[in-house]
Symmetry: C2
Subunit: 119 residues, 2 copies
DNA sequence: TGCACTTTCAACCCCTTGGTTGACAACACT
DNA sequence: AGTGTTGTCAACCAAGGGGTTGAAAGTGCA
């Protein structure tokens, strides 16, 4: 997944209203009116938010009878999960590498009484 | 984790430059100059990006000798992971619930030849 | 102390964004 | 066919964000 795509996804989630929408959509599909109900903003504003989420691929609005439904798309969450997992793995590796470095310094100290001068 | 906090975290990642910084920091700590090197922007701009990442808790700059180091903080990634995991779980539950609904409709059809009139 | 480098602060510019209102197209339903 | 709801488009406004430059603190070291 490209950097720009990731940025767009994160950007879509960079707003409390949209996070709330996503949270509620996780419980099931909703019409735009149902979605908009709790917010004190115009319907057009809600459509704008929806547009952002849709462009990021977080949400879809499948064709159908008139009060069209808004549906959470889960694939993007999988992509985000993979992305985050990469950092956790790298971080773990770094820590274990750090541990082994510290361990070898420990050994060097025992051998030479000075670990700092080692190249 | 509050909605606003999540929004701030996602907002910090809603920029290709900052995503790139995070990606590179996953490989290890770096000084600001090292971080800034690949980008064609002023050092001040890089500090601004760093500030955003720091405010979101994604990065820290532990006190130390002058060319201070920038370090990726992993806890926030854990929080993000938990957050995303919630949606995946809810989505799974909904799907399995949907499956059971479909299955029961199937059964009703076999029994009554019409599942739509069931209350 | 003085010099170089790192870090921060402030002002400014331009473009994006979250929100508004108003108008209008597209559906569904009697 | 006509009417109310749903969905979209456009113009506008205020605020925020990414970038710049310039200047000023802090910090490390010969």
């Amino acid at each position: 997944m490209s950097t720009d795509t990731m940025a767009r996804v994160f950007g879509a989630l960079a707003d409390p209203t949209r996070i709330d929408m996503v949270t509620r959509l996780a419980g099931g599909d909703a019409t735009v009116n149902q979605l908009a109900e709790p917010y004190r903003m115009s319907l057009q504003a809600v459509y704008k938010h929806l547009r952002v989420l849709e462009d990021a691929g977080l949400v879809s609005r499948p064709a159908g009878p008139q009060p069209r439904v808004v549906r959470l798309e889960t694939e993007v969450f999988d992509r985000m999960d993979e992305w985050i997992e990469r950092y956790r793995r790298q971080a773990e590796e770094r820590y274990s590498r750090l541990d082994s470095v510290l361990a070898s310094l420990e050994t060097d100290n025992e051998e030479t009484e000075d670990g700092k001068e080692q190249s």
